[in-house]
């Protein structure tokens, strides 16, 4: 009897759905519903209508914050690429032992809570910190404060997100067959042309992966910009937090959250249509 039952179930598509059901229900109740709640609040709080969105799209402050967020995310992505590419290159063109050490360092950095890393940058860039001290040594008498500026938050974000870029580029770069490079060199490719014709096309998927990840995470970054950034140059996530915590403006905060979500999903959607999302975190 039991056997017949399982047989019956197994042969249809019910069995996998039975296995999926608990999680599906869970995600519906504790993930989808809160998300819909945000959507709902954006058009009902404080009064029904699209007033909140009107504010977001016409208010000078909000537009500036969105632009600033985009600009910062782009800048951070580019900086991560500038940091990540030479590092990945170094790792794939040095002794295995040294590559291993660098890999360990990067993994360590990756796994260290970004609160810890944010704090570390506060120490490094603080007024009693080593970098200010260095600048004073050079002879600049009264250096400007580095902390709580766009510079400090960008620098910390690059440091926090660079591992994503490095690991993605490294994973494709180490797969490049050295024979390929040697044969390209034997055909006369040097320096720039070697990079343009061999390295760049072969590492492009890693760059794309890393860039999308860094960009998307940066768009919604809350902690580091709030702690290290300039209060006058907020990013979207920080502003949303402000609206909720300080002004209890749930409607406006939700509307910005929805816009942020839509932008994030558009970026991921473009990536998905070209490469497939499953590759992004794989």
């Amino acid at each position: 009897m039991m056997r017949r039952m399982t047989r019956l179930v197994d042969h249809q598509t019910i069995w996998p759905w039975l296995l999926l059901l608990p999680l599906a229900v869970y995600l519906l109740v504790f993930f989808a519903v809160p998300l819909i709640e945000v959507l709902k609040m954006s058009v009902t709080e404080p009064k029904p209508g699209l007033g909140n969105y009107q504010k977001v799209f016409t208010g000078a402050l909000y537009g500036k914050v969105f632009l600033n967020t985009f600009g910062t995310a782009t800048l951070v992505t580019v900086c991560c690429l500038i940091v990540g590419y030479p590092l990945a290159y170094l790792m794939s063109n040095t002794t295995p032992r040294r590559a291993m050490m660098i890999l360990l360092l990067i993994t360590m950095s990756f796994w260290t809570s970004f609160l810890v890393r944010t704090y570390a940058w506060m120490v490094l860039l603080g007024n009693n910190g080593p970098i200010i001290w260095l600048i004073e040594m050079i002879g600049i008498a009264d250096p400007p404060g580095l902390l709580f500026t766009r510079f400090s938050s960008t620098l910390a974000m690059v440091h926090i997100l660079a591992p994503y870029m490095i690991m993605n580029i490294y994973s494709v770069m180490k797969k490049i067959d050295p024979v390929l490079i040697r044969s390209a060199e034997s055909m006369g490719a040097r320096g720039g042309s070697l990079f343009r014709h061999i390295y760049l096309p072969l590492t492009a998927p890693g760059i794309a992966n890393g860039a999308v990840l860094v960009f998307v995470i940066c768009l919604g970054f809350y902690v580091t910009p709030v702690l290290l950034g300039s209060p006058r140059e907020q990013m979207v996530a920080g502003l949303i937090g402000n609206q909720i915590e300080q002004f209890l403006a749930f409607g406006l905060g939700s509307a910005m959250a929805v816009v942020l979500l839509v932008i994030t999903l558009i970026v991921l959607g473009i990536y998905h249509s070209r490469f497939g999302l499953d590759k992004l975190w794989g």
């Binding site: 598509t13 996998p16 608990p22 995600l27 504790f30 609040m41 609160l115 702690l227 959250a257």
Partner: protein
């Protein structure tokens, strides 16, 4: 060109390493401000951390919440991963996407949602609320790790066990589960870390009742930059190093044990 890129690489190695290097000395500082290098060395902030309930309670909360999140996540994700890796069925693509969605939504957006939704359910400032939210956020990474493991699982092992006389239930208990154990442990570890490190949602919903360590750290950095934060950072950092070196340590211990066992048997 080549050497230039290499030197640039080494420069960035320093960039990556520098912040990790300042934290540990800071924790032994005598100064109450962010002074580096520290003017003197002491253990006063360690003492403070280990005696101050304002720090110990969040640490304990975080361990509790992360453990519960791990268990709940595994209970939900294990069957779902088996379904998604081993079966073909209608709606599989959507199901796959559903598993990954929590990774695609910025945490600040979820934080706003939970703040309001859990407010209605009276779950704000409770352990349960944070656990429920963290479980959602832990699903994708746990699923990714586990499904990679399950995909690499050689199913002929199960066929072999069947042909050798094991019922499906016994195949699962004797073969599938033991072989998948390392993968299960790693994915559980990922779920734990995801919850333990999660900051944004915790800032919004953990409140005073279930304050987590990241929330306490965030508040501390924002308000006074209490040097105890360096102690916490050092402890977390040491945990990461131990975690990364754990496989090597286990291997070393095993080989040492194996050697002594062999010696004993001879």
């Amino acid at each position: 060109m080549n050497t230039f890129v290499r030197w640039l690489g080494y420069l960035f190695v320093i960039f990556i390493a520098a912040p990790l290097l300042v934290v540990v000395p800071m924790s032994f500082s005598t100064s109450s401000s962010l002074e580096f290098p520290p003017p003197g060395l002491s253990l006063q902030y360690y003492e403070k951390f280990f005696s101050d309930p304002a720090w110990l309670r969040p640490a304990w909360n975080s361990i509790l919440i992360a453990s519960a999140t791990t268990i709940l996540t595994m209970i939900l994700v294990i069957p779902a991963t088996f379904a998604l890796v081993r079966h073909r069925f209608w709606g599989k693509g959507i199901a796959n996407l559903m598993m990954m969605m929590p990774l695609a939504v910025p945490h600040i957006v979820m934080a706003v949602g939970y703040y309001s939704y859990f407010g209605e359910l009276r779950l704000v400032h409770t352990h349960l609320g944070v656990i429920l939210a963290h479980t959602c956020l832990s699903v994708p990474i746990t699923f990714l790790v586990l499904s990679a493991n399950l995909k690499g699982f050689d199913r002929t092992l199960e066929q072999a066990a069947r042909s050798l006389g094991a019922s499906p239930r016994r195949v699962f208990l004797h073969i599938t589960l033991p072989i998948l154990r390392p993968g299960l442990m790693i994915s559980a570890l990922f779920a734990f870390i995801q919850s333990f490190d999660e900051t944004v949602v915790a800032i919004f919903i953990s409140g005073r009742g279930a304050e987590t360590l990241p929330r306490k750290m965030f508040d501390s950095i924002r308000q006074e930059a209490d040097p105890v934060i360096a102690v916490v950072s050092t402890l977390l950092f040491v945990a990461v190093i131990l975690g990364l070196l754990a496989p090597q340590i286990v291997k070393a211990v095993q080989s040492a044990l194996g050697r002594s066992a062999r010696n004993a048997s001879e």
